[in-house]
């Protein structure tokens, strides 16, 4: 497509699925209920799909001829120094400035409370001047303690995987490729510990990016910055190897370059985001469910599609088998998936051969009955993967107005009925679950790190963050039922009871956004923050979920993704469930 054609299509994107206005209306089965999709056990079992942000971004990069290249690389023998990438797309130009520095092992931590990092970086508008680079050099390595400017879009940092980075550098310097087994355990050379956008520390607000064609989708600038860091991680390790042994060092094999992603350590901060941005959550889950519904409406499944489904299920099995985790529940879940996937394959094969009878909806219904939630979600990813022509036009993260708005005209009686319709999941909780306020969410004075406390044992509950949607709804319901005048307007009600203002407008705004609410009491003792993190990380497109506790998780982004060299308009977008390659081809010297 030419730039003009791309621009036209961008401008004509429709609301809702964000598809071009001229897109064909696809047949669609009923969407799954939020009572299924928005329960923590389901959110905590999600996998990335081809609609995930990283998949969507890489498709656009390839199909729309983005040009991403290194324009300056000034690193010493140890790999410390500065590297600058330039990103050109749609007539726009951006740069990513990366600083690599020495980090003592004693200072290396993935937590928000860290003060130093191996690698720090900023994605900025335009091409930096010498003065810009000096400014960034004085601020980017400081991260939260520095100040960025309105022309800077993303601030991020990463630490080396100590084990992998050193090992790979040694191998390449010795003229040989690493053992693939090393990448099965840890599929990256560096991992990000924070990727900031949207106004943090002085950087550009997201609304500024709405006019950007490259980065107007939610989180696309952040995802691009991580994609560039992935390329840099390989260049960095090759640079170190080459300086160590210039005559014999080799480049990393292409299959490894492609397999390696960027690690990410995610803590509690993602959970509050999901509660505070319910309109975005609705948009993300609705897009995914719409894609699934289109696939379930397919009436005739061609043999080549069936065969691809079988291949993807097999690939998913290999992928899950290569996930190493010390978290017992996650390991047990993976073992369950590995045991169930052959059953799924057998059922697919058997029912497909019953000619004229097969529908994906029947297979999913069978899976609902016979398989675990975790394996069902693998099937969902597989199904969406099968039909790019049906689903790739759905945009998961087009700009959305996520302001919560009060409807002042609604009567108290109408509000009560709305609460009872949309929050039945709150009313139907057993009393013990409904009243369970075991946890409280708070921000620590230490760099404002989001944390979770046990109410009975820890101080600070009086400063808890308002993530208690279930409790707020329950209290509102009680209050509404006690009102004598049901004809009174909501405006009058919140004037008298301002403590309900936030929850009332949330409920009203979400009346047409059924996927916006996580359907669980987030204070309850059985709540697992990693379930919420996984939901958001899956939307991003993360894989290899490795919980380190119930409070934080390691994942990999862009594992199996095309490399910068692979980006071209005819690129095949097929990197769901990445598996460790052999790396048998030789890397160039």
């Amino acid at each position: 497509m030419t730039i003009d054609e791309i621009m036209d299509e961008e401008q004509q994107r429709a609301q809702g699925t964000g598809e071009p206005a001229r897109a064909v209306a696809f047949p669609c089965a009923p969407l799954r209920s939020p009572d299924i999709t928005n329960r923590p056990e389901r959110l905590g079992a999600m996998h990335g799909t081809r609609l995930s942000f990283v998949r969507s971004l890489v498709r656009r990069m390839a199909h729309d001829n983005w040009r991403v290249r290194v324009t300056s690389m000034d690193l010493d023998d140890n790999g410390f120094g500065v590297c600058i990438y330039t990103i050109e797309a749609y007539g726009e130009r951006y740069s990513q400035v990366i600083f690599s520095q020495y980090l003592d092992d004693a200072d290396r931590t993935d937590r928000v409370i860290a003060q130093k990092w191996d690698i720090t970086s900023a994605l900025i508008c335009g091409v930096p001047s010498a003065a810009d680079i000096e400014y960034l050099r004085g601020n980017v390595p400081l991260q939260e303690a520095g100040r960025l400017r309105a022309n800077d879009l993303v601030l991020c940092r990463a630490n080396k995987s100590v084990r992998n980075f050193g090992y790979v550098a040694d191998c390449l310097a010795a003229g040989r490729q690493p053992d693939p087994a090393a990448f099965e355990r840890v599929g990256y050379l560096i991992r990000t510990t924070a990727v900031y956008g949207n106004g943090k520390f002085g950087i550009a607000d997201y609304p500024r990016l709405v006019d950007s064609h490259a980065f107007n989708r939610g989180f696309s600038a952040q995802m691009c910055a991580v994609f560039v860091l992935r390329d840099f991680s390989v260049r960095l390790v090759e640079h170190v190897a080459s300086r160590r042994n210039p005559r014999a060092a080799v480049k990393l094999a292409h299959s490894f370059r492609r397999y390696l992603g960027v690690g990410n350590a995610t803590g509690l901060g993602m959970a509050p985001f999901l509660v505070r941005h319910p309109v975005q959550v609705d948009q993300w889950i609705r897009a995914r469910e719409t894609a699934l519904a289109r696939v379930l409406a397919v009436e005739v499944v061609e043999r080549d599609v069936f065969e691809r489904a079988m291949a993807l299920i097999a690939r998913a099995g290999r992928h899950v088998a290569q996930v190493h985790t010390d978290h017992p529940p996650e390991a047990a879940r993976n073992a369950l998936i590995i045991g169930e996937l052959p059953q799924l394959a057998r059922e697919l094969e058997t029912t497909y051969e019953q000619k004229g009878m097969f529908r994906w909806s029947k297979l999913l219904a069978w899976a609902d009955e016979q398989l675990s939630c975790a394996t069902q979600e693998i099937l969902v990813t597989v199904l969406i993967e099968l039909y790019p022509g049906l689903v790739d036009s759905i945009e998961t993260a087009t700009p959305v107005d996520d302001v919560l708005t009060l409807d002042p005209d609604m009567s108290v009686g109408e509000l009560l009925r709305l609460v009872e319709r949309d929050y039945e999941w709150v009313m139907n909780q057993p009393a013990g679950q409904r009243d369970d306020d075991h946890f409280f969410w708070y921000r620590s004075a230490a760099k404002e790190e989001p944390r979770l406390g046990v109410r009975a044992h820890e101080a600070g509950a009086e400063l808890e963050q308002p993530l208690d949607i279930s409790r707020q709804v329950s209290r509102l319901h009680t209050k509404l039922k006690a009102q004598e005048d049901n004809a009174r307007t909501v405006a009058e009600f919140v004037a008298k009871c301002p403590e309900y203002r936030a929850i009332v407008r949330r409920i009203q705004t979400l009346a047409s956004r059924a996927y916006g609410e996580i359907r669980h009491n987030l204070l309850a003792q059985d709540m697992l923050p990693i379930d919420l993190m996984r939901a958001k990380l899956s939307m991003f497109g993360a894989s290899k979920f490795d919980p380190k506790s119930n409070l934080w998780v390691r994942v990999t982004l862009y594992q199996g993704a095309p490399t910068l060299d692979d980006l071209s308009p005819d690129m095949v977008d097929d990197w769901a469930f990445p598996c460790v390659p052999g790396g048998n081809e030789r890397g160039g010297a």
Partner: protein
């Protein structure tokens, strides 16, 4: 110092929360103050008036509803929350739906200019609103047709009443017109039209907002009241935990 809009908004929300405002109110007030500041209307001074003060605004909604049992003149009501921002417009809207027009008068307004943000929020909702408020500089006037991106700030009359902090909001449906709030006939100066508001917003978006360091320090001090002090237990068990060196 220069800040981003979202950055300043987060700081303001936390500061207001630290000052004891409820969630809905601190969200509204922060949005309002930051928008005003981006528009060059000293939103930081506006937010200062909400920090550490008693919630004492009073309001009355007119006209009284004859259909309501025991209706007579509407009584002035106290508001535990923040009436003089969005709530005044919501009350006027709801009364206009019932009676054709709705007028809300707020006395003892804590930070009257926040109401201009309330008017901005109503700009796209299809109903006419007129607004006036009094502050030290005099009486200010603004309006929207309900089909605008920004309100029209009509200016202020330095000679008008300066004795109290008052807000008057009028909403009308079906072509109704306000009485007593309009700027017509007043000697007003300093008008700002929609194009100028839009230019100021874009400038803030592209260059950031300049905020006095003393204001930032004051906001941070209030914000600190919502942060839980660090402890060994909190550090060890509240979030990440130990790293494994991978």
């Amino acid at each position: 110092m220069k800040t981003a809009i979202n950055e300043l908004n987060s700081l303001c929300r936390s500061a207001l929360e630290g000052s004891g405002w409820a969630q809905g109110d601190y969200e509204d007030a922060a949005d309002a103050a930051v928008w005003l500041h981006a528009m060059g209307l000293d939103g930081m001074e506006a937010i200062d008036r909400l920090l550490g003060v008693a919630h004492q605004e009073e309001y009355v909604v007119e006209p009284a509803l004859s259909a309501r049992q025991g209706a007579g003149a509407e009584h002035t009501a106290s508001c535990n929350g923040l009436a003089g921002c969005l709530l005044a417009f919501e009350l006027a809207w709801a009364r206009a739906t019932q009676a054709g027009t709705g007028t809300v008068r707020i006395s003892n307004a804590l930070s009257p200019r926040l109401a201009l943000y309330g008017l901005k929020v109503m700009c796209t909702r299809g109903r006419r609103f007129d607004l006036s408020w009094t502050e030290n500089a005099g009486r200010h006037f603004a309006t929207t047709s309900g089909h605008d991106d920004y309100p029209r700030y009509l200016g202020f009359n330095a000679l008008a009443s300066k004795t109290s902090s008052e807000i008057m909001v009028w909403c009308g449906v079906d072509g109704a017109t306000s009485k007593g709030i309009a700027a017509a006939g007043q000697d007003v100066t300093g008008a700002i039209d929609a194009a100028e508001f839009d230019a100021r917003y874009r400038d803030a978006l592209w260059r950031g907002i300049e905020v006095d360091a003393a204001h930032i320090d004051r906001l941070i001090a209030w914000k600190s009241k919502v942060l839980v002090p660090e402890s060994l237990a909190s550090r060890a068990h509240g979030a990440g935990g130990a790293d494994d060196g991978f």
